[in-house]
Symmetry: C2
Subunit: 210 residues, 2 copies
C-alpha cells in the first residue's frame, strides 16, 4: 500500500468542528473496549450487545474510505494524524497520547493505560511500553513537514509498569546529519519503570516506521 | 495494582463455551474500531452511532470486574490470557495474534494489521512492530506456569512495514540461567522489514513486563 494523502483539505475552523464530532465517537468506542474486556453480564446480554455493535458498524460502513486514514493536512499545513495508533484521536486503539513539546527540547506526555493495554496481571504489556517509547522518542525528531522514522530502538525494563497513570519523557542526545539520537523513559508515581534509546531518521521519501 | 488471579476456575468444556461467547463479541468490536477510523458518514449518523455505542457500554457495564482481566487459569492449568493486548481473544485492541510453537523451538504467527495499527500512511506504526516482536520473542522463553518477562529489547527497522498480512518469527539463541536470549523478525511477502533481539527473564515472583 503506497503512502497516501487522500484528504479533502479542510480549514482550521472545519478541523475544530470535525474534531468535536470524531473525538467523542472514538472515546465512546474506547469505553466499549474496556467494558468488552471487563464485563461479567450473562450470555444473553452479551449476544444482544454484539447485535447492537454489528448494527452500528453497518451504519458507519455505509461510506468508508478505501483503506487506512493516513495522515492528512489542513489547508494551512496542520497535520491530522487522526488514525495513528498512539496519538490518533479517531483511533479507539490509541489511548490517545497528547504530546507536549517544551522550549528546551523535552517531549513529554501524561497518559493513563487501562485494562486494554495489559500484559502481566495488573501491568502494562512490555510491548506497549516499547510502542509508547518509540513514539515519544521519535517525536523529538519529528518536525512539521519533516517526518522522522525509527532506525533502531533499544528498550530496557527496570521493573513492571503498573496499569494506571503514567508519564513518558524523551529528549535529543545529539543530531548527526539525518539521524537524531534520542533517549527517554516511562515512569509511574514511584519512578522510572522502562528506559529507551533510539535513532530516528529523516528519510528522503515518506512512508516508513512511526 | 498488584498481580491478580481473580478467576472462578473453569473446566475445559466451560472454557470452550466461554470462548464461543466472548470471541465473537470482541471480533465485532474490532470491526467497529476499523469502521470508526474509516467512516465517512454524516454527522447525524455519527451521533446516532455514538448513542448506540454508549447504550451498549452501559448494558455491558451492569456487572464489571473491578480492574483488568488479568491472567486466569482453568482447573486443569490452562492459561487464559484473554485480556492480553497482543493475544487476548477478549481484548478488541489485540489483533489478536495466534502464537504457534514448533518442535525445533521456532515460534511464529501469521496475522493481519489494518487501519487501527497505522503510523506512517499505509504502514504499521514502528511501535506496533516493537510490541509484536516483544511478545513473539518473549514467547520463546514463556513456559506454562513459568512466565518470562522482558529484560531488554532491541529493534532494527530495515524498511516500512505495510499494513496487511504479515508474519512474525522468533527463536532462542541461547539460555543462561534465568535469561533467555531470543531473536526474530517481522516479514511481509517481500521479506523482512524489522529485526529484533531480546533478553527475557524468568523472575522469582510474577508481575512484570509482557
Amino acid at each position: 500500500m503506497p503512502p497516501r494523502t487522500l484528504c479533502p483539505v479542510t480549514s482550521n475552523d472545519e478541523l475544530v468542528k470535525l474534531e468535536a464530532v470524531y473525538r467523542p465517537l472514538a472515546d465512546s468506542v474506547r469505553r466499549l473496549i474496556d467494558a468488552t474486556i471487563r464485563t461479567q453480564v450473562d450470555a444473553a446480554t452479551l449476544a444482544a450487545a454484539k447485535e447492537k455493535i454489528d448494527c452500528t458498524t453497518e451504519e458507519l460502513s455505509a461510506a468508508l474510505m478505501p483503506s487506512s486514514f493516513g495522515v492528512r493536512q489542513t489547508a494551512d499545513g496542520q497535520s491530522m494524524p487522526w488514525g495513528n495508533v498512539v496519538i490518533g484521536l479517531r483511533n479507539p486503539v490509541a489511548p490517545p497520547l497528547a504530546i507536549n513539546y517544551e522550549a528546551d527540547g523535552l517531549v513529554w506526555s501524561d497518559f493513563t493505560l487501562g485494562a486494554a493495554y495489559e500484559g502481566p496481571p495488573g501491568h502494562v504489556h512490555g510491548g506497549v511500553c516499547a510502542m509508547v517509547l518509540d513514539h515519544v522518542l521519535g517525536a523529538t525528531a519529528h518536525k512539521p513537514g519533516r517526518p522522522a522514522v525509527t532506525g533502531t530502538l533499544s528498550v530496557r525494563y527496570l521493573r513492571g509498569t503498573p496499569l494506571g497513570p503514567l508519564r513518558a519523557e524523551a529528549h535529543i542526545d545529539r543530531v548527526e546529519g539525518v539521524k537524531t539520537f534520542a533517549s527517554g523513559h516511562i515512569a509511574d508515581a514511584q519512578g522510572i519503570t522502562v528506559q529507551a534509546e533510539g535513532v530516528f531518521v529523516h528519510p528522503q521519501n515518506r512512508g516508513a516506521n512511526s
